[in-house]
């Protein structure tokens, strides 16, 4: 096959390069991110003001892509959607939306209704805010003004939080030791449910109270309780920070940016110490909790150590994941498993201001001589080429790497990031003291025998 494009037939087709043109990027759109965040709040009903396929695209391309999940009781085909077509483009979609919000409140059980507007209303200029405002005295209704072209799914999560802050939150007296947790992005982080549950249990272990907002049964109550926190924790180097800053500005809640969810005892202990100091929890209590948990974990590590030394000791490793997942797994591999991190591909397209910090997090504070090459890339084709550039024995990535890992890298592979179509993730996670054990449990079955 000849490559006649540039040679022979005359010059480049396009005046410039567009790095955002990509094969299978590692995120959905902003509408999807906001939709996923809404589905993650029990009792919240999303109302998509969009074309009829946006919800279905995100059913298969977001919730199902994050560990084969359904969207829950208000997801998939249950989600109300205005199903806009050409006549709405011509005459406007506001009337259709008005009828849809009205009927949804009448038909569907819900504590909170979240109108999420997509590309079509954004392009035709529907005044969605005004329509939503008409329902304020009937139910809790907010509007997340997104579109597919406004950004990726991580930004959609930020936009959801912003709509919550603007539409629902009022000042409350501070509850001592209450912590909100942000930055665990539903679906775009495939372990979000298990991670939230684990982080909550960890912080409660040292005596804090935790509002995870998503994934518990608090529903609208959990959301409304956000301003009562003594501290906001952002476990992500960029996503969720904007909301935390706004909450500080509006309600005076300080925030602690911790960049990642810890995997394994070392980083987990560090997190607890930092949060504990902030909440003025006596260090005796924190250290007591840590040493009990730690002892337990390392005792259990003895059971897996022989398998580990046979199957994947001091492996050259690559992580292909969103920034916070990448940080936690590079650190755990280098600092607790003795892996040699060779490559870290950051796939969530973090904003420019966050990139230096992420790169530092991925390269500083690691044991051993290896420092991973850090690239920011969401184009699956380029990622595939990058993976070929060094020998690897472990690839922690998405299911897009599953067959590549085997055929092009002769490498162990485990899906830990979006999209993940090869394993079911319900409340599994690698967070916390025991997280590393879970990681090894999940990735060792493919090669562990003594022969």
């Amino acid at each position: 096959m000849t490559l006649t494009l540039v040679s022979g037939k005359g010059g480049k087709l396009s005046a410039k390069e567009y790095p955002e043109v990509a094969e299978s990027p590692r995120f959905t759109c902003a509408l999807g991110g906001a939709y996923g965040a809404t589905l993650a709040v029990f009792g919240a009903v999303p109302i998509l003001h969009s074309g009829a396929g946006c919800g279905m695209a995100n059913a298969q391309g977001m919730t199902y892509a994050s560990g084969l999940n359904s969207g829950g009781s208000a997801g998939t085909t249950t989600t109300p959607c205005s199903g806009l077509i050409e006549e709405h483009v011509v005459f406007g979609g506001e009337d259709k939306l008005r009828r849809l919000i009205d009927s949804t409140i009448r038909v569907m059980e819900g504590q909170l209704y979240v109108v999420i507007s997509g590309c079509v209303p954004a392009l035709i200029g529907d005044d969605v805010d005004s329509v939503v405002a008409e329902f304020r005295d009937r139910a809790a209704v907010i509007h997340v003004k997104t579109s597919g072209f406004a950004g990726n799914g991580f930004l959609g999560y930020n936009m959801f939080l912003d709509a919550v802050i603007e539409g629902l939150l009022k000042p409350l007296p501070v509850e001592r030791k209450l912590v909100n947790v942000f930055g665990l992005v539903p679906n775009q982080n495939i372990f979000w449910k298990g991670e939230l549950r684990t982080v909550k249990a960890l912080l409660e272990g040292i005596g804090a109270k935790v509002n995870t907002v998503f994934s518990d049964f608090g529903s609208l109550g959990s959301i409304e309780r956000i301003p009562a926190a003594e501290l906001n924790l952002v476990l992500n180097p960029w996503c969720g920070l904007e909301a935390a800053a706004k909450l500080e500005e509006r309600f005076g809640t300080p925030f602690e940016a911790l960049d990642f969810v810890p995997v394994g005892p070392k980083d987990t202990s560090e997190l607890l110490r930092r949060v504990g100091r902030k909440l003025k929890i006596p260090s005796r209590k924190i250290e007591g909790f840590i040493s009990a948990e730690e002892k337990n974990v390392y005792r259990y590590m003895e059971y897996l150590a022989e398998m580990f030394m046979i199957a994947m000791p001091h492996a050259f490793s690559a992580v292909v994941a969103d920034s916070r997942t990448a940080i936690s797994l590079v650190r755990y591999g280098a600092n607790e498993l003795g892996w040699n991190p060779e490559l870290a591909v950051v796939t969530d397209d973090p904003p420019e201001w966050a990139r230096d910090g992420i790169a530092r997090r991925l390269t500083e504070g690691l044991e051993g001589p290896s420092v991973p090459r850090v690239i920011f890339q969401y184009d699956s084709h380029t990622i595939r080429q990058e993976l070929k550039k060094q020998p690897l024995q472990v690839i922690l990535g998405s299911s897009l790497e599953k067959y590549i890992a085997r055929t092009e890298n002769e490498s162990h592979h485990l899906s830990v990031s979006y999209p993940t179509y090869d394993r079911l993730i319900v409340d599994r996670s690698y967070a916390g003291f025991r997280g590393g054990i879970a990681l090894l449990e999940d990735m060792s079955h493919s090669f562990a025998g003594p022969s």
């Binding site: 000849t2 490559l3 006649t4 955002e20 094969e23 009829a52 391309g61 849809l100 597919g148 179509y421």
Partner: protein
């Protein structure tokens, strides 16, 4: 054979000078809602009295791009798919590299299963300044990376509304590259009927890829099937055709561009789903003289017999077909009899009847309903995704064979389906995967089909082997309902009680143009 080809009405003519197909609404009075007797539906369709409706309460149902067009086009092996859209529109296709690899090469899937898709990732700037240059870059990138034989360009709501001149880009770029550019106009806002997306796809195939026949391939049978047919179904159709000395030309999944080019050389285009295949079949006959038939599909024993007989008449191999049918029946009918006997036992324990409610595409409606009768179960109501004029004769035929029945057309609106399931209270509900809380039931419920990437014999549906596999599956589904029951008891229902208490599943419908 269908009668249309002897009397081609102007509206049936496919105009490949147009950049795309008409919508199903324009072409065949496609509708998104109906409730009544099947006989009434056919009468009203003939009188032109059916109308689309606007729903005041509407739920996710898929658009013409995202009823899995991206998932399917991405699997064409030596092509690249470019989705000219914001990033979410092609998210469902992110399984392209992983899910279909579960099919084993030992099951005759090709070794080169390395698919490629690109999104132009339309952003804020693009909707202001346009994205034509970006689309050109994407084409360039596709060529540079993969040297494909064809590049499919799929449009979206966003590219449509901002007025992207995709045809202009194609005209400008095509002379400068080897790959054939195939624009597919599947903007989600174009139509309420998702089948329009498949017509748009076939329009692009017919217009750009199918080549004039260099020779006839008298043993080649074009088979286009929906995504809900599994790999086993392909194997079964291959097996049966091989007994007749024929080869299938399967499209679009996993095909090569040359398979599309050769569509014109086939002896016949045979249906696995008439509503899905219709536009392609008509186009191939009109442009290249390839005969076709649309009915029946090879679902169930009797329909498979009839499918083979129609094929035999078209190709002049009636005698051989009868031999094959005899052989096949000798092998499979006893197995079906055993399943039927199993259902007789179930019926005895169930007061003499066993009622199954299927939610079906239009194509499955005319084939699966007779299959239920073959199993000895009854159908109180058929839920149909959408309906158009293309299958009226076939529904007539169905009415003759099985009698009149209730039919509800509802684009699988989940609340309407839930209402209907409560109202008719059948012994078993069959539902598409991804149908929300439909599985929570006191009585039976199971999936109506699996998907293409499923290689298990358990999930087969087509041909003789599929009839037996599917019959066994349904019988198996009558045995234990603890999952459905437990989830019903332990989790909530998304809808308020009044919704079920009032009698009309179409409570929130307004006919097109009707004021509140």
């Amino acid at each position: 054979m269908t009668s249309e080809k002897d009397d081609p009405a102007a509206k049936d003519r496919i105009n490949l000078d147009d950049i795309t197909c008409p919508t199903r609404e324009q072409r065949a009075n496609g509708i998104n809602a109906f409730k009544g007797k099947a006989s009434e539906l056919v009468d009203k369709a003939r009188r032109g009295e059916l109308r689309n409706c606007e729903r005041d309460f509407q739920q996710n149902s898929g658009c013409i791009l995202n009823f899995y067009l991206t998932v399917r086009v991405a699997t064409i092996r030596d092509a690249v798919m470019i989705v000219h859209a914001p990033v979410g529109c092609s998210a469902p296709a992110a399984l392209y590299r992983e899910v279909f690899r579960r099919l084993w090469t030992s099951m005759n899937r090709a070794a080169d299963f390395d698919f490629h898709g690109l999104t132009t990732n339309i952003g804020e700037k693009d909707v202001i300044y346009g994205a034509a240059d970006k689309l050109k870059f994407a084409i360039e990138e596709a060529v540079r990376r993969h040297s494909p034989r064809a590049i499919f360009i799929l449009t979206s709501c966003a590219s449509g509304i901002i007025g992207e001149d995709v045809e202009g880009v194609v005209a400008e770029v095509q002379p400068r590259i080897d790959a054939t550019l195939v624009p597919i106009h599947c903007e989600g806002i174009r139509s309420r009927i998702i089948q329009t997306g498949y017509d748009a796809f076939w329009h692009g195939i017919l217009k750009y890829l199918v080549k004039p026949a260099r020779k006839r391939q008298p043993d080649l049978v074009n088979v286009a099937s929906m995504l809900s047919y599994t790999w086993q179904d392909r194997m079964e159709i291959t097996r049966i055709l091989a007994k007749l000395g024929l080869r299938p030309n399967f499209i679009p999944e996993f095909a090569r561009v040359s398979d599309f080019e050769a569509l014109s050389e086939a002896a016949v285009t045979a249906p696995v789903c008439p509503t899905y295949t219709d536009y392609l079949s008509r186009g191939l006959e009109q442009e290249h003289g390839v005969p076709y038939f649309l009915y029946p599909s090879p679902i169930g024993i009797a329909n498979t017999d009839e499918w083979l007989r129609t094929l035999g008449r078209t190709l002049g191999i009636e005698e051989r077909v009868e031999e094959v049918i005899r052989e096949e029946r000798a092998h499979w009918v006893p197995k079906m009899d055993a399943i039927r006997a199993g259902f007789e036992e179930v019926k005895k324990k169930n007061g003499g009847d066993f009622r199954i409610m299927g939610s079906l595409g239009q194509g499955r409606l005319v084939t699966q309903t007779p299959f239920f009768h073959e199993l000895g179960v009854s159908t109180p109501v058929a839920l149909c995704q959408d309906f158009d004029d293309l299958l009226l004769d076939d529904v007539d035929d169905l009415l003759k064979r099985v009698g009149d029945f209730d039919i509800i057309v509802n684009t699988f609106q989940a609340a309407e389906v839930a209402h209907t399931a409560r109202f008719y209270n059948p012994d078993m509900v069959l539902s598409c995967p991804f149908q929300g809380s439909a599985y929570k039931r006191e009585k039976g419920m199971t999936r109506i089909h699996a998907l293409r990437g499923d290689g298990r014999r358990w999930s087969a549906q087509a041909g003789y082997a599929g009839a037996v596999a599917c019959g066994s599956f349904l019988l198996q589904a009558t045995r234990n309902r603890s999952f459905q029951n437990t989830m019903l008891q332990k989790t909530g229902d998304p809808y308020k009680q009044w919704w079920y208490d009032q009698p009309d599943p179409h409570y929130f419908h307004r006919r097109e143009g009707q004021q509140p």
